[in-house]
Amino acid sequence: MDLVIPKIDVVSLGPELILSIAAIFVLLVSVFLPKGRKDPAAYLSLLGIFFAFVSSIFLWGNPRYSFNNMILVDNFALFFNSIFLIAAGLSILMSVNYLEEQEMSHGEFYALILFATVGMMFMAAGSNLITIFLGLETMSISIYVLAGFFRRSNKSNESALKYLLLGAFSSAFLLYGIAMMYGATGTTDLKGISEYLSKAAYLKDPMLLAGMGLLLVGFGFKIASVPFHMWTPDVYEGAPTSITAFMSVGVKAAAFAAFVRVFLYSLWNLQPDWNHVLWILAVLTMTLGNVVAISQNNIKRMLAYSSIAHAGYIMIGMVASSELGTSGILFYMLAYAFMNLGAFGVIILYGRKGEENLDINDYSGMGFKYPGLALLMTVFMFSLAGIPPTAGFVGKFYIFSAAIKSGYIWLAIIGVMNSLVSVYYYLRITVMMYMKEPVKEFAGLKWSPSMAIALIIAVIGTLLIGIFPSPYLDLARQSVQLFM
């Protein structure tokens, strides 16, 4: 038998390779670093992220399949790559001091973030269900560990365990879905599935539909869509805050990338079938997320519910099933990355070991004591609430317009109503900060350069995308041209 090695296009793997190598380097280097002073490992990771970003830029505008159609490096994947890299970079910047403060500074932390990012990139670029599955697992396993990284904290343990059990449970369903897809179409290649479906005479094959349903469940779990969302609040609350930030942006973005690629590209011919389901899920997700967020008192938990709600908004873009809607998803994810990471950054900075200040009441009077930090938080909250002129507003506007354009007026109406409800709890934080007397003493903030840089990047991103969104919208549009 002849072994025909397929064309190995190492260049197309550039970002993934760079990150993997950086991760291994971080592991090696951190062995030689003194205990508790592992920040060089963080800066090394940032260097890796930077080069991965550069190589992503070089790959832009030149879509190619490589490794026997296992991955497709197109603008869509690269756009998501940049979101993952932003999420990873900002999370690492926020972690440096946070870990030292918690006496948990270990090089492995950064290496795992990089591994998780590699997994995300494979999810976004994967053009075979198996590649996507392996990317998803690489990401998930790293995140399980990161969620439980604070080994002595009961909450962190619990968070990791819950995420692990439910994640593995949902992976099994995803896998079952892949098996059925494989059985029904004879391939797991996204292009192959799409070709099969466009030729198939019989689209009501129950195995095909059930497989699709199970894929929906698998992705729905990762994006935290109702009713697969239950893990989100607990896991987000218990995980180290910088990991919560990373999860809420990175994992969600990666899951959406794969979700969009599989459903809007590969399963496009079944769009009438899945669209209704997604419509219902989007409504449930938005509504439940927003309604329950109102009665939360822990700010991380509140943001967890808010992230559920945001998943609902983004699903509207999928239901719209148009170029506008898909580019809206990309744009929204980018905006969400900046604003959500920023909000978590403020939370990290406002906490202390043994005094996490996670209760919403702890934020009362913050506006007087730390006007700068409170101002940042206000910007992020406004953006999450979708108040102009922030990135969140433009994102919502874009997605809702896409829904209307595709004729889903009711969905848009429900979305708008939801975003109005959401203002209530986001503004609650602002009100606490500016309109309440402080309830307790706080020792003072420990600004660190890395945290400051992270917050500045986040706030600039949030405002810049809100005020001058055109270039980013253009990029998002260029990224989805393969679709439809």
């Binding site: 449970f169 699709m212 006007p371 209307i404 055109s470």
Partner: protein, 655 residues
């Protein structure tokens, strides 16, 4: 100069940034100078822009300054740009001018408040948002301003957050305004779907050429827009937040909750007059809501004893007038009243603030009286404002109110009767306020009475300027005489109404002309005599209200006594005094009082408040129930996933 219109909103935001960031390091004086200075500059630029606009011929007085493309989504392109035309010009001048005066006044009023810097930051931010709202060249920008003013209003109502009421009032304003905003957003989406653009000019052009009168989609859009307007401009059923909003500092009430922000709804309706004229149903709704609000809230004001509440209900009532004007197609009359109202209502609030200042924060008119001698400047300016709002010739309110009533009369007599009724009540309660506050016997607490004083000149000079404007502001819109209604003619290119006395038809006018061909045809040919008669009637109504108030609140205290003496001499029937009193009470005072109290307690508190609070509570309740699903047991979560899977599989198999 037109190219520099962007400077108008730019200055206030610079002020807000300076005061917001460096405020803690600056002295109060510097903060005040910066805050007032930027608004002054903004006003100056507005004036310069105004004169450049005047140099253009009337037909081409519409200038768009596009700064950059904001959101480009597919074929939707939204710019950050400014539109200068007569309508936005009037708004710019009014907003920046009145804001300037109120800023100056605030320097005196807020001088001892520890939130001085915060106050001016918010106030500058508010002026910025308001100017963005009125200068915007598309719906989205307008919405940005719309949200911005709402936010500042919320911040300023709850300015004294240490007390509970302001915080609650702020929350209420916020919730109610959200409902209105929802309407606006939906309208905006519908506009985008229908027209493919959000630019004012493009939308109105397409609407004008491609849509029939009575088109369903336009009706829907306009009704939704009007929902937005009712929220912001406090019309039935979304008005309840405004009286509560009086918990904020008085200059804020004057600026935001009387002169500027609350008129945003009126401005928006007038801005979209092309759409509204295409939707007769919406116009009818606007007119009815407007006139009902005007009458209803005026009747509530009759019995209120808190001077700021009287003014608040009066504001709602006057806003109702403006909507009535829009509803009968007299858009320029609506804007005219908006402008004059900004003058005299701001003046009334500032006067009330001056009184409060003297009375150590007392608001209850029953504890005032005979303040005239203590604070003459406040009294005279307040009186002028009252004369203006009551519609006494030749003060500003007379012209604007008369124009509205005249237009309403031409459209529908019932509207006129209701409008006139509201005018009567307005005159009555305003003079009642004047008499109770400044005339009669002093009911002031002794402790307070010792400290009665006129306010400092930094506070009274804005009063004087506003008083002058309230007195003569009406002369820009003199009716009947050909060419004298300068205001109307200036606005005609925007509102699409006929130039007074000429048959010139502008582009946007066509649709309007076709929809209301009959009535507007009549309007031109109505005998001048009738119009004069109507003017006389409305003047008589105003004077009637004045007289009634005079009778009841100046004369009445002595009247019963004198009557009693007379009756004693002739019939020795002392009890007749009670009889008279009782009838008087029974026939007159009580029904009004009771009626308005019932309306207030039942409709206002129960129904409207109940709905607003109820929906909030419902959501909160749902939230606390739903969060219990999250039990913390990981197996429950797995079950939830499984339920979802079961549902999805079932759907795919059986649907």
């Amino acid at each position: 100069m037109l190219d520099y219109v962007w400077l108008v909103p730019l200055f206030p935001i610079i002020g807000a940034i300076i005061n917001g960031i460096f405020g803690t390091k600056l002295s109060k004086k510097t903060v005040g100078v910066v805050a007032c200075g930027v608004i002054g500059l903004s006003f100056l630029v507005s004036v310069l822009v105004f004169f450049s606009l005047l140099q253009l011929p009337p037909e081409s007085r519409s200038f768009e300054k596009i700064i950059y493309t904001w959101i480009a989504a597919g074929d939707l392109k939204t710019t950050v740009g400014f539109l200068v035309d007569p309508l936005s010009m009037i708004m710019m001048l009014t907003v920046s001018g009145v804001s300037f005066l109120i800023h100056i006044y605030s320097v005196g009023y807020m001088h001892d408040d520890e939130g001085f810097k915060r106050y001016f930051t918010y106030l500058n931010l508010f002026v910025f948002s308001m100017l963005v709202l009125v200068c915007a060249n598309n719906f989205l920008m307008m919405f940005v301003g719309w949200e911005g003013v709402g936010l500042c209003s919320y911040l300023l109502i709850g300015f004294w957050y240490q007390r509970k009421e302001p915080a609650d009032a702020g929350k209420k304003a916020f919730v109610v305004n959200r409902i209105g905003d929802y309407g606006f957003l939906l309208a905006m989406m519908l506009i985008f779907v229908t027209f493919g653009t959000l630019n004012f000019k493009e939308v109105f052009n397409i609407a004008h050429y491609n849509f029939q009168v009575g088109s369903m989609v336009i009706t829907a859009i306009t009704l939704l827009l009007f929902v937005g307007a009712t929220g912001k401009s406090a019309q039935i059923p979304l008005y309840t937040w405004l009286p509560d909003a009086m918990e904020g500092p008085t200059p804020v009430s004057a600026l935001i909750h009387a002169a500027t922000m609350v008129t945003a709804g009126v401005y928006m309706v007038v801005r979209c007059n092309v759409l509204f004229t295409l939707a007769p149903i919406s116009l009818t709704v606007v007119a009815i809501i407007g006139v009902v609000t005007a009458v209803f809230t005026a009747s509530i004001a009759l019995a209120a004893n808190d001077i700021k509440r009287v003014l608040a209900y009066s504001t709602i009532s006057q806003l109702g007038y403006m909507f009535l004007a829009c509803g009968v197609g007299a858009f320029s009359a609506g804007i005219f009243h908006l402008m004059t109202h900004a003058f005299f209502k701001a003046l009334l609030f500032l006067g009330a603030g001056s009184v409060m200042h003297a009375m150590a924060g007392e608001l209850d008119m029953r504890k005032m009286g005979a303040l005239k001698s203590h604070m003459p400047r406040t009294y005279w300016t307040f009186l002028i404002a009252t004369l203006a709002i009551a519609g006494i010739f030749p003060f500003a309110g007379f012209f604007s109110k008369d124009e509205i009533l005249w237009n309403a009369f031409q459209k529908n007599t019932v509207l006129w009767v209701l409008g006139a009724g509201a005018a009567l009540m307005t005159a009555f309660y305003m003079f009642r306020a004047v008499f109770m506050t400044f005339h009669g016997e002093s009911r002031v607490d002794e402790e307070v009475a010792k400290h009665l004083h006129e306010s400092p000149s930094v506070m009274t000079s804005p009063l004087v300027v506003l008083a002058i404007l309230s007195a003569i502001g009406g002369f820009v819109g003199i009716p009947i005489i050909k060419g004298a209604n300068v205001f109307h003619d200036f606005l005609a290119p925007v509102t699409g109404e006929h130039l007074a006395g000429s048959a010139k038809v502008t582009l946007t006018n066509l649709a309007y002309a076709s929809s209301t061909a009959v009535s507007s045809g009549e309007a031109v040919h109505h005998p001048v005599g009738l119009e004069v008669l109507m003017m006389a009637i409305s003047l008589a109504i105003a004077l009637g209200g004045l007289g009634l108030a005079y009778y009841m609140y100046i004369k009445n205290p002595s009247l019963p006594k004198r009557l009693a003496e007379k009756f004693k001499l002739l019939y020795h029937l002392i009890c007749n005094k009670y009889f008279v009193d009782e009838i008087y009470d029974f026939l007159f005072v009580n029904p009004i009082k009771r009626g308005s109290e019932i309306l207030w307690t039942f409709f206002d508190v129960r129904v409207v408040d109940g709905m607003v609070n109820g929906s909030g509570r419902f959501v909160e309740f749902g939230s606390s129930v739903l969060k219990r699903i999250q039990t913390g047991y990981v197996q429950n979560y797995a079950l939830s996933i499984l339920v979802g899977i079961g549902a999805i599989i079932a759907y795919f198999l059986f649907m």
